[in-house]
Symmetry: C2
Subunit: 143 residues, 2 copies
């Protein structure tokens, strides 16, 4: 498990944000969990061990800054809380109605790269499915 913090500071600065200690550790945590889709609360909770003084408000501030700067994507799939991930490459997701996880879906989509539709300007493309993941289907089956 190699700590690859190098570059995070530069990544943050490159978007015109000050690379503060808080922003670095939050982006580091997101970078170490690239395939997960974390809530602000989860990020704050994971941080409490190493940095107990980090406030939840700062986590929210930081995530909002990252999203505005185009570093992080915010997903509003569940309707109850925002999930964040360290990428801005558009891709699809599946929300499992059993375990609540959000899972990346590798799928071709002819609309994923569109910049306009019917004369509307398109800035973001979001595609997701709601259903049941494989793990949960197996659990159901074996019970």
């Amino acid at each position: 498990m190699i700590t690859n913090n190098s570059g995070l500071k530069e990544v943050i600065a490159s978007r015109g944000l000050k690379p503060t200690a808080q922003r670095i550790i939050i982006l580091d945590h997101l970078a170490r969990n690239m395939k997960k889709h974390l809530t602000a609360e989860q990020i704050h909770g994971a941080m409490r061990k190493k940095t107990p003084m980090l406030s939840l408000t700062t986590v929210y501030n930081t995530l909002n800054s990252f999203v505005d700067a185009g570093l992080v994507t915010a997903l509003t799939i569940t309707g109850t809380e925002v999930r964040y991930e360290y990428t801005t490459v558009s891709h699809h997701h599946l929300l499992c109605k059993h375990c609540g996880r959000i899972i990346d879906i590798e799928i071709q989509c002819p609309n994923a790269e569109r910049k306009s539709i019917n004369g509307y300007r398109v800035d973001e493309v979001h595609g997701y499915f709601k259903g049941v993941c494989r793990d949960c289907m197996n659990k159901e089956h074996n019970q």
Copy 2:
């Protein structure tokens, strides 16, 4: 403007729900606004004129029942509140970041009808874009 309430009572009953007065007027309102995507608050506000005693809680209860019964679709696009529409035919949307409207997008999508993906069971397909609608682009242009 013809009042076409006929059938709503039957539609509600056909899903195993009692066709109460409240449920009928709420579904009627949704049916009259087929292309809009309303919040519970908007529905409640529109109702206040004719039915001032209808409670916001009942609007929520009713909408949740309709969604569970497969009569109504809930959209969690903005992240701040749920939008409801009287259809369950899967289609795409555009959220205008200027005026906040959600607009139906007629577009072909090869994934819109999928029932499974990578071994996952798929129950719902959601696709939407964030951008700027034509009205708002014109306003920007003319200012």
